[in-house]
């Protein structure tokens, strides 16, 4: 008890002020309801603000969580969408290839491009088919758009294809309109060169260049590309013809290997 009085005497002013303030407030609560209306409204407003603040804090917290979940979902859906788009594009490509295979007179082996050759001397593709799929060396490789190249190395389940854009690749070719025959080789850049076409022959840009069929490997009539540029030099016997390849070699995904007909195997000539 003495201790309580001791504390009270030490802090008398504070206790006294507290007492008067509390008592005054208590007196205010004894007023009739009309007079208390303001205080009641203020208390309710304060409570309402506090609830609003609490709700706001909860809302922000919930929004953060929701935002994270939505971001995760968005990412998942985005990946799903990409996969679906990829599947759709693959479906279109495969459908086109299937149609080509059905309409083609050749005996075809479908293959997927699984890589690009790493040999410094040969520009090549790696296919997922090999001798186990009846692929043999020197078989033409095509797409529905045109000629890709020929099989060069054949393993059991893989094969390497030398593409037209290789410096050692030479293909006997024919101009579609004039029926003139030349040899197509790589020009060293994005184009192919059609060589040995006489200056006398009329060649215009846009003309289609096909395989000639004068080959042990390539059957006749496979599109190689279209003439992009024709030049002449009065001191040279042949035209300089640039060809835009029918196939985009950087975007190849599915190709076909043509099984060589027996009639071609025994034929003599350049590739």
């Amino acid at each position: 008890m003495k201790k309580v009085f001791g504390i009270f005497s030490q802090r008398r002013t504070v206790f006294l002020l507290g007492f008067y303030v509390v008592f005054s407030l208590f007196l205010m609560t004894l007023n009739d309801p009309y007079q208390l209306r303001g205080i009641r409204i203020a208390v309710l407003q304060t409570m309402s603000w506090m609830h609003q603040i609490r709700d706001h804090v909860n809302l922000v917290k919930n929004l953060k969580e929701e935002n994270q979940q939505l971001r995760k979902k968005l990412l998942e859906k985005s990946l799903e969408n990409q996969q679906m788009q990829e599947s759709m594009l693959e479906n279109i490509r495969l459908h086109r290839m299937l149609k080509f295979k059905e309409e083609s007179n050749y005996s075809l082996i479908a293959a997927k491009v699984i890589g690009y050759g790493q040999e410094p001397t040969i520009r090549s593709l790696i296919l997922d088919v090999g001798s186990a799929d009846s692929v043999e060396k020197n078989q033409p490789v095509i797409t529905d758009l045109g000629l890709v190249g020929k099989s060069l190395v054949v393993e059991k389940n893989q094969s390497i294809v030398q593409i037209l854009m290789d410096r050692n690749s030479l293909v006997s070719a024919r101009l579609q309109k004039s029926r003139e025959v030349g040899v197509v080789g790589w020009s060293g850049n994005l184009w192919l060169d059609l060589n040995y076409i006489s200056r006398e022959v009329v060649v215009e840009p846009g003309e289609v260049v096909l395989t000639s069929g004068l080959s042990r490997i390539y059957p006749a009539g496979i599109k190689i590309g279209i003439v992009a540029e024709v030049r002449e030099n009065e001191y040279e016997l042949f035209k300089q013809i640039k060809i835009k390849p029918a196939v985009d070699f950087d975007r190849l995904e599915e190709v076909f290997v043509i099984k060589t007909p027996d009639s071609l195997k025994s034929r003599e000539g350049i590739d």
């Binding site: 002013t13 002020l17 407030l25 205010m28 007023n31 209306r37 303001g38």
Partner: protein, 157 residues
């Protein structure tokens, strides 16, 4: 009870009667001096915060009893004013002590009073302070300054 307290008690009663009667005649626009606040500040400066707030509480309560406003409101605001005046005792230079203490205590008094008074109402507390409290307080300070000049010798111990 000391003579000083008795003298102040009489002064409070006198100020209270004047506040109820004569002050109405010196009202300018709506502004009127708070004579009880003047005496309260003078008393608290002399006797300190404990006496100051006790006197403030009792005078405020008396005002509440005769008024029609919220009972306890004047008691609360005058308690705080008395306490502040007591605490500020000796904090300023002697010449300015009374007027500055009256200003600070008066501001606290009016702020508490009108803050609670306007709670939940459509009055603007800001405009009430600018157009009513401050001019009213200035009026109280002017009258307080004059009264203190006469009151102080009378209250000398």
């Amino acid at each position: 009870m000391s003579q000083l307290v008795i003298r102040y008690l009489l002064l409070f009663l006198f100020a209270f009667i004047l506040q109820m009667t004569l002050v109405n005649f010196i009202e300018i626009l709506q502004w009127r001096p708070d004579l009880l606040l003047i005496v309260l500040v003078a008393f608290a400066l002399r006797k300190g915060p404990d006496w100051g707030m006790t006197a403030g509480f009792l005078i405020g309560l008396l005002q509440d009893m005769v008024g029609t406003e919220l009972i306890g409101l004047a008691a609360l605001s005058k308690t705080v004013a008395g306490f502040l005046a007591g605490v500020l005792s000796g904090k300023f230079a002697e010449r300015a002590q009374f007027l500055l203490t009256l200003l600070i205590s008066g501001l606290a008094h009016d702020f508490i009073y009108f803050f609670i008074y306007t709670l939940g109402e459509h009055f603007s507390l800001q405009s009430l302070i600018i157009f009513y409290t401050i001019p009213n307080l200035m009026y109280t300070i002017i009258i307080g300054g004059l009264l203190y000049y006469f009151m102080e010798p009378l209250m000398a111990e």
